[in-house]
Symmetry: C3
Subunit: 229 residues, 3 copies
């Protein structure tokens, strides 16, 4: 493994964060979202008995999949993980560390539920904000919130050959992102400053997600009944 | 669910159709194609016991998947469902209505065969036309007809964890789109006006698709025989 | 099938190769990579009992999937298979020929191992080189080498409803592409001419891949042990 070039990247990482034209709050939110969802993907990969390449790749796909779709669909270049070139390096480093852990303790899985909810909240609100800045309608922007927040996991599930858990009757997930995005737009309309409305919307998504998990709030499955058979 | 913003969109929807720089015929064709393939995706989702989010998402993926690939591959921005921002709203409304239907009657499935064929015909000819306008070769344009017409369903199948029915030995589907696109190019070469050749090519695709289903026209499966085992 | 337009393409194919602004070495490398990975995809399709459309589609996806992701992610337009419009025609012709073969002899599969390794080596080094030219960091460029070399096969596996063999504990594949890309960058830093370093890096990837297959070099599977169950 070529470690030397990785070490040489560190000053560039610091410079890249400092010089970012992005406001610091969004930057920090995206940073945590990348790590939280990357780790979630790596856990998924280990559940499917993959090797290091699989752990890194699925972590990469879950961490960057939703944001990559957002950037491609909105024609934003360079992609956010090419512009912030330290993101993939960090995911790589986490994958290396993660591969050295022989077994995943049970409390880690519970901790991951929180970090996954955090990733959902942060990515969704960042995604909805970016879409709005590009000039889409509110409905489309809310959809971009959902896509950014959830499609990394969807692609990860597809790659691991499972029906995406997002689509089956599971505790609220995409719904939290959708409602949370509208909440932000509503606060925008009321003139609430983003410095306040941004963390409020993220908080709503994270808490409603965790509450859905805890109280098992879910939509009912829609049956396909065929009276002719 | 934030219904109020949806209602406010209606005048914008009307304005967006009226002010469209796209000729009305293409516009109408795309509109019907979106609805037909969206409903097809929602039926697929219900067959897989998904909830409302799944029904909307798979409907969205089948309705816009092929056209999104076309727009990304040809670098056309904004994507057609971002430009025509009422399309996703309509798919959302259909998904809501669809989720309130407790059971799908048998005749609906038969009706869907027709609307699916219609979606194939319309999307394929629109896709091939757009590729040609961008300046691709005829062969590439015919492939864009096939991609636009069929890849929504392919991605929908992949997301539902099935081998895409397009690739297994099934009644002609992609073949109809490919031949229909060439038919349009042939009529272009003969100087036939698009106002005539467009509906003719769509009609050929729809009818050949329905005939393939009815008479079970299909290609033979290619075996992988290994004499060494 | 409309053969006549295909025949008319031949002079355009020759002109397209001759007038290519790409250096001849890269052009030839890409050409062989397209054919090698296209045939690999078609073999995969036949193993899954697909028909002609499936054989062509999976061949197309494996041949162009990785490079399409590279071009989309780096915002390079037109896509390489739209610019070099003879590539899809060649894959189409191979699919026709391939569909006429009633059974695949055992030696063909062994020959394919070599051509698959060749495709990996060529696509990876071309992909890494292109990313570097666009101005990405070395780490990102090495990742583009891996994406270009391997993701056609990953998407092909997903479409065929298998967990991508890349991610499970299989003989080194992505690792060869990653290390080979860094080898090229290292030789660049040492001032080695690309006319020498390019074939050396490709050769390293091809030989290390074949050696991994022969000696069964692989990473160990990472278990997901849960002491609580």
């Amino acid at each position: 493994m070529p470690w030397y070039p990785l070490v040489r990247l560190i000053p560039r990482v610091v410079a890249s964060i400092a010089a970012s034209e992005f406001p610091l709050m969004y930057q920090l939110a995206e940073w945590i979202a990348v790590m939280a969802s990357g780790i979630y993907g790596m856990l998924l990969a280990r559940q499917h008995q993959m090797d290091f390449i699989g752990v890194f790749s699925v972590g990469f796909i879950v961490a960057f999949g939703g944001g990559t779709l957002r950037d491609l669909f909105l024609n934003r270049h360079p992609l956010f993980w090419i512009q912030h070139e330290h993101y993939p390096v960090v995911v790589f480093a986490i994958a290396v560390a993660f591969s050295l852990v022989p077994r995943i303790p049970r409390w880690a899985e519970r901790a991951l539920t929180v970090s996954d909810a955090l990733g959902l909240g942060l990515y969704s609100v960042v995604g909805a904000t970016i879409a709005l800045e590009v000039g889409t309608s509110h409905f489309i922007a809310a959809m971009f919130g959902v896509i950014t927040g959830t499609f990394g996991g969807v692609i990860g599930d597809v790659v691991c050959n499972r029906v995406p858990s997002l689509f089956t009757s599971a505790p609220f997930f995409a719904t939290c992102a959708f409602v949370g995005s509208w909440l932000l737009f509503l606060m925008d309309a009321w003139g609430v400053d983003r410095a306040l409305s941004f963390p409020l919307a993220v908080g709503f998504i994270v808490l409603s997600r965790l509450a859905s998990l805890h109280f098992d709030w879910r939509m009912r499955t829609l049956e396909f009944e065929d009276p002719g058979e």
